[in-house]
């Protein structure tokens, strides 16, 4: 059974609007996402900025209350839990933030930051707490004398290690990594990614890895989900996404990613126009105004996410759900 199942999750933010919220429009940040994360796997979630990746991640651990839909974590419906049960569950789901400078309280010592979760959940106290924090610091590659220092005395990579230690302190099994390495130098990114992978093996962790960087996601993920304007457009095992992308948007993303091999020429697929406003998404397939393969049906009917084995695509033209055009040639 999947560790996490998201069913038709929606998060709509009201914007503008008059007195008492009348006449307000809504931003459909997450608009009907259904996916599942298996125990021990890493699911990568990619998409442009503003497509709702972070909102989805935050909804899962209920930092944001979803507007609609269900989140089932290990058989429990997270959205239906009251505050007390939620607090218990929070031990098992944690988050690592993007900006290592904003995610650590500048007035707290590293020991206090990492130990806070243990203290809140009464996992340890006093000398035992100190010992366990020390162990954790050592485990994420920091030294014991860092215990009494303040966050500003560390580099970005070290700060991110503190953030990882904080998430691990409560023995979390499921970690949402929200652009966890995006703010770091490439060399430091690799270190943190390797640390995350080592920790995954050691503690049997499950990652929900949000990133806009396809190469990072390729490196760490078992499966990759691609998101566009609040909806999933494609989800498949990592190799399948990179070798055999179906959805035109996924292909456009892949062709935009730089390759380390200058001799390999790829055809660049440059998208026209900007991401449409999530307040007023286009009719039918929300990607159709920018899609070079769009047919008439694309602007009329919203494509469903159709599954073929472990590869799901939401497209009228390509993939298992294709009904028109070049479907036959590409599958």
């Amino acid at each position: 059974m999947a560790l996490l199942e998201i069913r038709n999750l929606k998060k709509h933010f009201p914007v503008g609007g008059g007195f008492l919220g009348r006449g307000a429009e809504t931003v459909k940040a997450v608009d009907g996402v259904t996916l599942s994360v298996e125990d021990g796997e890493t699911l990568g979630l990619v998409g442009e900025s503003g497509c709702g990746k972070s909102t989805l991640g935050r909804c899962i651990i209920r930092l944001i209350e979803p507007s609609d839909g269900q989140i089932v974590f290990d058989g429990q419906d997270v959205t239906a839990l009251d505050a007390d049960d939620m607090r218990v569950l929070r031990r098992r789901m944690q988050i690592i933030f993007q900006d290592p400078y904003a995610s650590l309280n500048p007035r707290m010592r590293v020991g206090e930051i990492v130990g806070e979760g243990m203290q809140i959940h009464k996992l340890a106290k006093g000398g035992e707490l100190r010992d366990r924090v020390m162990q954790l610091l050592a485990r994420v590659g920091l030294r014991e004398e860092h215990f009494d220092r303040y966050p500003h005395e560390f580099s970005g990579g070290q700060r991110q290690r503190i953030g990882v230690a904080r998430a691990l302190a409560v023995n979390a099994q499921f970690i949402v990594a929200d652009e966890a390495v995006s703010a770091l130098d490439v060399s430091i990114q690799a270190q943190i990614l390797n640390l995350l992978q080592d920790l995954q093996e050691e503690f049997k962790l499950t990652y929900f890895f949000i990133s806009h960087d396809l190469r990072v996601v390729e490196h760490i993920s078992d499966r990759v989900a691609v998101m566009y304007l609040g909806k999933l457009v494609e989800i498949a095992p990592a190799e399948a996404i990179y070798a055999n992308a179906q959805h035109p948007y996924t292909r456009a993303l892949l062709s935009a990613a730089p390759l380390p091999d200058p001799s390999r020429k790829t055809e660049r697929m440059v998208l026209q126009g900007d991401v449409p406003s999530p307040i007023n998404p286009p009719s039918g397939c929300s990607f159709h105004p920018r899609c070079p393969f769009a047919e008439k049906i694309c602007s009329e009917v919203e494509p469903a996410l159709v599954r073929d084995g472990d590869h799901s695509v939401a497209c009228h033209v390509f993939g298992p759900g294709a009904t028109v055009g070049r479907a036959a040639e590409t599958v």
Partner: protein, 353 residues
């Protein structure tokens, strides 16, 4: 950048940031010296009973020691006839004590704030003389003694009002800023209405119904004074509640009260602390103006505002007006200098992390 060595200040562990602020405060010599002068005067005034009193500090009578400044002794204790408390300033009482080889240690000023100088050789208010250094007021009470006690009560009142109103104001601002939304909206509208109340008239009406005591006056002023800090604290909470480290704490399951106290309040306190000296100034001025109008502390209390009113009513006795003006001006200037140095030391642009 600290090299891992913890600095200490007054025995407490301090952060490098605090250390920088202390250094910055010290570097502002005007504010730094103002703080020391103000503290020295304030601490001295706390011992006003030992500086200006109409009872001796120590009396030796028939080999026994008495402490009239602290305890009450009847005149009969010194061989007098009255059962009431000894009037140590009376020549007869002094005679009784010294005649049997006793002696008395007087404070430097032999007047308390309520002591009437009965041996004036000119009508009150009398001009400064060797006996009354700053003259007497219109009830023949020593002005210097009244100023010492008046300073003390002003500062104590101001400090108490400042502390209480910051506690209430910070709590109110924190709740509004942290929860935002409807809580914030309703609370803000309430405050707009509340701050629109004519506070001076309300105080005057209430003061005419009851004779306000120190604590009651404090409560009345607190009804309005608490709003001065709400704005800054609310703004800081609104800003900080969306920081990632607050989100992280929420994700850890830390409850709201703890998040507010541990993660948000320390940031908001910087802004609030910077305003505290100015709130103190406002509180002292509020009390003085009420006293000036005659709606302040009970009649007879030593008060700078009341002295100011006497100065206005007795323009032929300029020592009243000049004294009260000088005391107020110097006290408020010192506090302004301290406040400015405080504000600069906490300025994030100067002492950035």
């Amino acid at each position: 950048m600290s090299d891992g060595v913890q600095r200490r200040f007054l025995g407490m562990r301090i952060t490098p940031l605090t250390e920088r602020r202390l250094r910055s405060f010290r570097a502002n010599s005007r504010g730094f010296w103002s703080l020391w002068i103000f503290l020295a005067v304030f601490v001295l005034s706390l011992f006003a009973e030992f500086i200006a009193n109409d009872r001796p500090l120590l009396v030796s009578y028939e080999g026994e020691l008495y402490y009239p400044a602290l305890f009450t002794y009847p005149e009969t204790a010194f061989g007098g006839v009255f059962q009431t408390e000894a009037e140590y300033r009376e020549p007869e009482v002094q005679e009784l004590i010294t005649s049997k080889g006793g002696w008395m240690v007087w404070p430097p000023l032999r007047y308390s704030y309520g002591t009437v100088n009965l041996s004036l050789n000119q009508p009150a208010p009398s001009a400064p003389s060797a006996e009354n250094l700053l003259g007497t007021d219109d009830q023949a009470r020593d002005v210097l003694a009244r100023v010492i006690y008046g300073f003390r009560i002003s500062v104590l009142f101001g400090l108490t009002l400042t502390i209480l109103s910051s506690v209430v104001g910070v709590a109110a601002g924190a709740v509004q800023g942290y929860f935002g939304g409807w809580t914030d909206l309703l609370f803000q509208r309430f405050m707009e209405i509340w701050s629109g109340m004519p506070r001076l008239f309300l105080l005057i009406i209430l003061a005419s119904m009851f004779i306000p005591s120190f604590w009651m006056l404090l409560g009345l002023l607190l009804l309005f004074e608490w709003m001065s800090l709400v704005g800054v604290v609310r703004a800081e909470f609104l800003r900080t509640r969306n920081f990632d480290y607050v989100r992280a704490a929420r994700a850890l399951g830390v409850n709201n009260v703890t998040i507010m106290r541990r993660h948000v309040l320390p940031n908001a306190m910087t802004a609030a602390l910077t305003m505290l000296p100015f709130v103190l100034i406002g509180s002292i001025t509020a009390l003085t103006s009420l006293d000036f109008l005659g709606f302040g502390l009970p009649p007879g209390s030593p008060s700078l505002g009341e002295l100011l009113a006497q100065g206005k009513a007795n323009l032929q006795a300029p020592w009243l007006g000049i004294t009260s003006f000088m005391v107020l001006a110097v006290m408020l200037s010192l506090l302004i200098f301290i406040g400015e140095a405080f504000r600069d030391a906490f300025d994030p642009r100067k002492t950035q992390m």
